[in-house]
């Protein structure tokens, strides 16, 4: 299976000026030497908590912000070296659905305007724009009577459908979904997830799904990457991650997640001490070592590399 997206030691460091007269410069290492790939047709889940770098990583792919190190290939093209013209073409093959539809849809534009904008930017003829918009609205089950309303007049679920319509109107091959259902009620979430699966089947889409909701990850994803403080600590097929998570952070994340039913309530819990440290001054060695219940000497000095332990299952931990 071809790799649609391939990251090799990708870095995104943001400079921060500190001290009097902003003299001292340090870096927020939001994404720190990440290597991974997303195969065509798969749904890759990226999980992690606030500050893990998952949203930053997603923004690198369409070059919404430039990479500061490493190599990022989209369908074989090096994103960092692509010309503006090449990027325009590449970006049309991608769609992005953001977390909070009420803040990602222009509140002063009708839903129709927001959805058709990508077609207008691509200079499509008027007739095509109108028919495509109607067609796409129908595809996402967004009633056409809603098209001429404003976002605030739509429910959360309808807003998210509008957002998905906008992201898919150019019939992309790749969708980046950043917490697509986090602000939605349970029943609405089910509708949106079903819709995403239907669209994927119909158009052969590849998804990068970013979320902190582990039940959504398990349901939707084929493979999962777990991020902590800018690093990828584990990559695994979804079933394996839930059955036998290897990295202590993954274990803690899974055991911190609420159980699917009250019967699985008294499962063994692994708790991490304290709060995540700052991204400007990450701990030396393995990023998790101050909070990890299994940390030993090597963890405090040497950063573990991501190695394959079982088929398709990679971990970055000295214990393994």
């Amino acid at each position: 299976m071809e790799d649609l997206v391939k990251l090799t030691a990708v870095e995104k460091h943001f400079p921060v000026w500190e001290g009097f007269f902003s003299r001292r410069r340090r870096y927020v290492r939001a994404v720190d030497r990440i290597s991974m790939s997303i195969a065509r047709g798969e749904t890759f889940g990226l999980v992690g908590e606030s500050g893990s770098g998952k949203t930053t990583l997603a923004r690198l792919i369409p070059r919404l912000t430039p990479v500061t190190g490493g190599k990022l290939l989209y369908s074989g093209t090096d994103i960092a070296r692509a010309t503006t013209g090449q990027m325009t073409t590449i970006r049309r093959r991608m769609g992005i659905v953001f977390q909070d539809p009420s803040s990602s849809l222009n509140p002063r534009a009708t839903v129709r305007t927001s959805i058709q904008r990508p077609l207008e930017i691509a200079h499509r003829p008027r007739l095509e724009i109108d028919s495509r918009t109607l067609e796409t609205a129908e595809l996402v089950n967004l009633g056409k009577e809603l098209l001429d309303r404003y976002p605030h007049q739509l429910s959360g679920g309808q807003q998210q459908r509008a957002s998905i319509a906008r992201a898919t109107i150019l019939r992309p091959e790749f969708l980046i979904l950043d917490e697509p259902t986090s602000s939605l009620d349970v029943s609405v979430q089910a509708q949106i997830l079903n819709l995403l699966l239907d669209l994927q089947q119909e158009f052969g889409l590849t998804y990068l799904l970013i979320t902190h909701n582990l039940t959504v990850v398990r349901y939707m994803c084929d493979r999962v990457g777990v991020m902590y403080l800018g690093k990828l600590v584990e990559i695994s097929p979804v079933a394996d991650l839930y059955k036998s998570p290897l990295h202590p952070y993954s274990v803690a994340l899974l055991s911190a997640s609420p159980p699917p039913s009250p019967r699985s309530r008294n499962r063994e819990r692994v708790r991490l001490a304290g709060d995540p440290p700052s991204l400007i001054n990450p701990p030396p060695g393995c990023r998790l070592n101050p909070r990890c219940p299994y940390a030993f000497d090597r963890c405090r000095v040497e950063e573990p590399k991501l190695v394959e332990c079982a088929h398709g299952h990679l971990v970055a931990c000295h214990r393994v």
């Binding site: 908590e49 606030s50 429910s155 959360g156 679920g157 009620d185 349970v186 029943s187 609405v188 979430q189 089910a190 509708q191 997830l193 079903n194 699966l197 902190h212 582990l214 039940t215 959504v216 398990r218 349901y219 939707m220 979804v238 079933a239 803690a252 994340l253 055991s255 911190a256 997640s257 609420p258 159980p259 699917p260 039913s261 009250p262 019967r263 699985s264 309530r265 819990r269 708790r271 991490l272 304290g274 709060d275």
Partner: protein, 324 residues
């Protein structure tokens, strides 16, 4: 965990209305439930179901133009709806505590967190020194590390999890018997959420405190609830112990909700969805408020509001059909 026969909190036929220029809007309709001592009761439902309004009504905190228009709220033998404004302020904080969803909004930004806990303690008429000492102990019992420094910090200087701990600290400082928690972990990361829930359960055990938790997250319900009340469009549609709610729900809405939760992988089948959408409070359907979306709806559901009926011991449902 001892259970005396008398419930700690007994809400009977609670109605909360908002008086607006468009007329009366009913946010909570005929809601009755009980919370026993040492129990965790979860009030769960989707947006606009009235669960937060119910919680606010218990402490008479429903914002204007809302008010409790009918019903009794019995707390340890006293009817809270009959208390004067002054009397209810004595109950708030001391006997019933409440923590809210977003502590950054609830905490005062210009006072240090330590001072806010002290201020709560001072309500018990102790000296400043004693108040500081107790606040220090409380910061320890809510497991705030580096207490001395953190007590001097302002809310905006603390992380979300820390702020929530400070709020919990303030609220348990006078050892209330009932703590109402309205979406206490919504904006927090999973691992921090787990820490906060552990803390709440630990405090509950140590102080024999009851917990009324308001949430839309069934995971939290599965994790800590003993009993559950499911709300829809202002009414309680089903009430039971947590195992029954998950394993044998009897109301069509609860059943559909349980099947809408992603519990496995996509290969195991599509998620169940509920046709239509949640009605706004100004447009609640007549009869059973769920009827336009219910797969079992018949004529009677449009004509008559179903009464709440007990279908098994401790399990009641508001539906015309005792669904099997």
């Amino acid at each position: 965990m001892s259970r005396s026969a008398e419930p700690l909190l007994s809400v009977k036929s609670l109605f909360v209305d908002y008086v607006t220029s468009h007329g009366r809007v009913r946010a909570v309709r005929d809601v009755s439930f009980e919370v026993n001592r040492g129990e965790v009761f979860a009030l769960v439902g989707e947006s606009g179901c009235g669960k937060s309004t119910t919680a606010l009504a218990l402490m008479r905190l429903v914002p204007q133009p809302g008010h409790v228009s009918a019903g009794h709220i019995m707390f340890q033998g006293t009817n809270l709806t009959e208390l004067s404004e002054r009397q209810i302020t004595l109950v708030r904080g001391k006997q019933i505590g409440m923590i809210f969803q977003n502590p950054l909004i609830a905490l005062n930004p210009v006072y240090s967190s330590g001072w806010q806990v002290e201020e709560a303690v001072l309500l018990d008429n102790v000296s400043r020194q004693e108040a500081w000492r107790r606040a220090f102990d409380i910061m320890g019992s809510v497991k705030i590390p580096d207490r001395e420094e953190r007590m001097q910090s302002y809310p905006h200087e603390l992380s979300g999890g820390m702020r929530q701990r400070v709020m919990i600290g303030m609220m348990i400082s006078r050892a209330p018997e009932l703590l109402i928690a309205d979406e206490p972990t919504t904006s927090l990361d999973v691992t921090i959420q787990a820490q906060i829930l552990d803390l709440l359960m630990d405090l509950k055990a140590r102080n024999n405190m009851s917990l009324l938790i308001i949430t839309h997250d069934f995971g939290i319900v599965a994790d800590i609830a003993d009993r559950v009340g499911v709300m829809y469009a202002g009414s309680l549609v089903e009430q039971a112990d947590v195992f029954s709610i998950f394993e044998s729900p009897r109301h069509p809405y609860t059943r559909l909700l349980m099947r809408a939760l992603p519990t496995g992988t996509k290969t195991e089948g599509r998620l169940e969805t509920i046709k239509g959408s949640v009605p706004s409070l100004t447009e609640v359907p007549a009869g059973c408020s769920f009827n336009p979306r219910c797969p079992l709806a018949q004529d009677i559901c449009i004509q008559e509001r179903p009464p709440e009926r007990e279908v098994a011991p401790g399990h009641s449902v508001r539906c015309h059909f005792s669904a099997e």
